[in-house]
């Protein structure tokens, strides 16, 4: 069976809009955390976030015919920009997406909430929400609407799916794309995720005391929690035989996918990392890859006390002694926790690293946690020729996912 490869990627993040700027940010160890400007955060435990304030519209000559608009809110605008970059980078145009079976697998959690919540939170004394709210605003809040916007923009006629499993959403969407392509359900799949910063999620994570006041420090002994980010990443996935036949540049291979339920607790991972380990093991078995071939782990790494400890134990369980030789980092140290979109942006970081001969850093990491026995990539990116990487995403509901990603020229 032909393998599945990625031939296009697009990124919108707080450290760079577009893959080249994002890669530069990754290499330099940039951190996009800053005081919140989108709303008054003075009452919140954390007053920082990884927000995007620059113009997200791509170069009009590089949109691949995919219309760009801010009409449907920030989540959709991020996703449209990332999608256009991915399709253009894959050497395709919107006109190429209307034939055959072109599908969309999307992961996210916020959709139109950043805009719609303002109508409710800004309601004046005695005002009736339903009398003053614009229907289009609250119609944009169901999480599936972002995929609707993308599918229309790209003119797709194949399956359209939105997976919303909190922080593993986009990783599961890429897994869905892998399965569709393997099964012949689609000829090409546009996959990824997008989320925008909003008060609902900020308030929720602050209430749970899972946030750090200024910046996240994954795997560092000083870590205090996550800091929320926003952005998007989208990919073009296709069967390798098809990509090679049309002369497309292969950016990486999706070798395997793992997803399991912990069935343990709604928000807390198992202390021993058992669920994380099962997800990674499933991804490696699906890929037919031995753990000793893993050369990098892009961790979920939220920078909460419990997650990082649990995940590090899971990594050690899967890789054993080989873990001593495997660099580990969390891209959340640079772009924040993008919630439903986090797995997509982190996959983009993995792919850019595989192609560029580096592993992204764990920005800000300085002080080792004596309970975390891993090779954390400190400071800036580290040069490394990686053949196989794991990209982890773990979520509320005990939903643990992992992608096994291969170098574009590596063995399938």
């Amino acid at each position: 069976m032909s393998g599945v490869v990625i031939t296009g990627l697009g990124v919108v993040s707080s450290i760079g809009i577009g893959a080249p700027a994002f890669e530069q940010g990754l290499r330099s160890g940039a951190c996009g955390a800053a005081p919140i400007r989108r709303f008054d955060a003075s009452e919140y435990r954390s007053k920082a976030a990884f927000e995007i304030h620059d113009e997200v519209r791509p170069d009009p000559t590089r949109t691949a015919g995919i219309p760009q608009t801010a009409r449907y809110g920030r989540t959709a605008a991020f996703a449209l920009a990332a999608l256009a970059e991915a399709v253009h980078g894959a050497g395709l145009h919107r006109d190429d997406l209307t034939g055959g079976v072109h599908a969309l697998a999307f992961g996210g959690s916020t959709a139109g909430m950043p805009e719609a919540e303002g109508d409710l939170l800004g309601l004046g004394e005695g005002e009736d929400f339903w009398a003053v709210a614009e229907p289009e605003r609250f119609l944009s809040t169901p999480v599936g609407t972002t995929a609707d916007v993308l599918a229309r923009a790209a003119g797709l006629r194949g399956p359209v799916s939105t997976i919303s499993t909190a922080c593993s959403s986009a990783t599961n969407a890429v897994g869905q794309a892998l399965h569709w392509l393997r099964a012949g359900r689609a000829d090409r799949v546009l996959a990824g995720g997008s989320d925008a910063h909003c008060r609902l999620t900020h308030a929720g994570f602050c209430a749970l005391s899972l946030v750090a006041p200024e910046r996240p420090l994954p795997f560092d002994a000083r870590r205090q929690g996550m800091v929320i980010g926003e952005g998007a990443a989208m990919f073009v996935l296709e069967r390798e035989a098809d990509a090679r036949a049309r002369g497309a540049t292969v950016l990486g291979r999706i070798l395997g996918f793992g997803n399991v339920a912990e069935a343990h607790h709604l928000v807390q991972p198992k202390d021993d990392g058992e669920g994380a380990a099962r997800a990674m093991t499933m991804a490696l078995r699906d890929a037919g890859v031995e753990p000793t071939r893993v050369g990098y782990v892009n961790a979920h790494g939220t920078a909460t006390i419990q997650n990082d400890l649990s995940e590090s134990r899971g990594i050690r369980t899967v890789l054993g002694a080989h873990a001593d030789a495997v660099p580990v980092s969390s891209t959340k140290s640079q772009v924040g926790h993008l919630l439903g979109a986090s797995g997509a942006v982190e996959l983009a970081a993995v792919l850019l690293g595989l192609n560029g001969g580096f592993v992204p850093p764990c920005a800000g990491w300085e002080e080792a946690d004596p309970e975390i026995d891993l090779d954390i990539v400190a400071g800036t990116a580290r040069s490394a020729a990686v053949e196989v990487a794991l990209s982890n995403s773990f979520a509320f509901g005990g939903n643990d996912s992992s992608l096994c990603v291969g170098h574009p020229e590596g063995a399938a």
Partner: protein, 354 residues
């Protein structure tokens, strides 16, 4: 493009999965028998009367108070499925839930509290319920389901999509069994939003309910002595990007007709093999089959695709059409379930005799 090899690629590595256990919580009855009775008599009900989880999960009572209604409905339907023909070893069972809106009431309540009392009073106990996969998380914990778990949110097709995902996962050998279906809650916020937005077909009343079915390989069902109710011959999806807006229901007849035709062809069926079509509102114009019945009467929207798939399985097993559609014997071996969604997604599921 390797379209020529599509059939080879889609050829299932295993036989068609079967539906064995069914759990339904709806306004016309809870549990398989009550629901079928309500359906046969043409009953109408849009709200689930009582959700008494303690009857089903006596050791989990401490968790019920923090749960939102949507999660309760998912856990109720899951328990009803468990109590139907069992689940087998739950640790190996996958889980797929479809919900369009998640807990809209919970989200509204959380934001209202934020507005009225400030950030310091945001309730940490409520926030985890606001993610769409909270219900799947609770059901996984209650039942010990440790396989893959996905929550789908593509509006009115999400319940069918969950069952399609389970079918594909079993056919590919990813897992051997999955509890799959859909759920939606009904409250003041959703009723008001539906009215204010006027975004749905007029004949579709907002309702609530949940349906979860156990999809498993034939070999697994046989090994544990469960009686298959129906085979799932396949699940197909498409979309139409031509509607007026991504937010409204505007699916044309052509794409529905095309997808049904493709599904029948790839399932190796002729139109004459189809004994009944269970269609969602808005898809009827694309139907050519004579015995289309509209599940709109159940008022279980929008995850009602899962309800229709469950009904289809019961129809195939029972071989008798309900009274309000004539009560005649089911002609043909297959039942076609059609769903369409706001934004343009369409899904067709075909069920066959076990």
């Amino acid at each position: 493009m390797s379209r020529a090899s599509l059939r080879e690629l889609t050829a299932p590595r295993r036989g068609a999965p079967v539906i064995t256990s069914i759990g339904i919580a709806s306004g016309i009855g809870q549990g398989r028998e009550a629901f079928v009775q309500g359906w046969r008599t043409g009953a109408v009900g849009t709200a689930v009367d009582r959700v008494r989880l303690r009857d089903f999960y006596p050791k989990r009572r401490a968790m019920f108070r923090r749960m939102d209604r949507l999660s309760q409905l998912i856990c109720l339907a899951s328990a009803l499925a468990r109590d139907d023909q069992g689940l087998g070893d739950p640790a190996e069972v996958a889980l797929a839930v479809g919900t369009d809106l998640g807990t809209l009431e919970g989200t509204w309540s959380f934001l209202s509290r934020l507005r009225d009392h400030g950030a310091a009073r945001a309730n940490p106990m409520d926030f985890p319920n606001l993610v769409p996969n909270a219900g799947a998380g609770y059901a996984g914990i209650f039942l010990g389901l440790q396989g893959p778990s996905h929550t789908f949110c593509q509006h009115e097709t999400c319940g069918d999509e969950a069952i399609g995902w389970a079918t594909d996962g079993i056919a590919s050998g990813w897992f051997d069994a999955a509890l799959a279906g859909g759920a939606e809650e009904l409250g003041e916020v959703r009723a008001a939003a539906t009215s204010a937005a006027a975004c749905l077909p007029e004949e579709l009343p907002p309702g609530e309910g949940a349906a979860m079915v156990l999809v498993e390989s034939r070999e697994r069902a046989d090994a544990r002595g469960a009686t298959p109710l129906a085979r799932i011959l396949g699940s197909w999806a498409a979309s139409t990007p031509d509607g007026r807006s991504p937010y409204v229901f505007d699916v044309g007849a052509g794409p529905v007709r095309d997808l049904i035709g493709r599904a029948l062809s790839e399932a190796g069926l002729e139109p004459g093999d189809v004994g009944a079509v269970l269609a969602s509102p808005g898809t009827e114009h694309g139907l050519d089959a004579p015995s289309a019945d509209h599940a709109v009467r159940l008022g279980v929207h929008p995850a009602d695709g899962a309800v229709r798939v469950a009904l289809g399985a019961l129809l195939v097993a029972d071989r008798t059409l309900p009274v309000h559609t004539g009560g005649a014997p089911l002609q043909g071996d297959a039942v076609v379930v059609v769903s369409a969604a706001r934004g343009g997604s369409i899904r067709v599921t075909i069920l066959g005799k076990a």
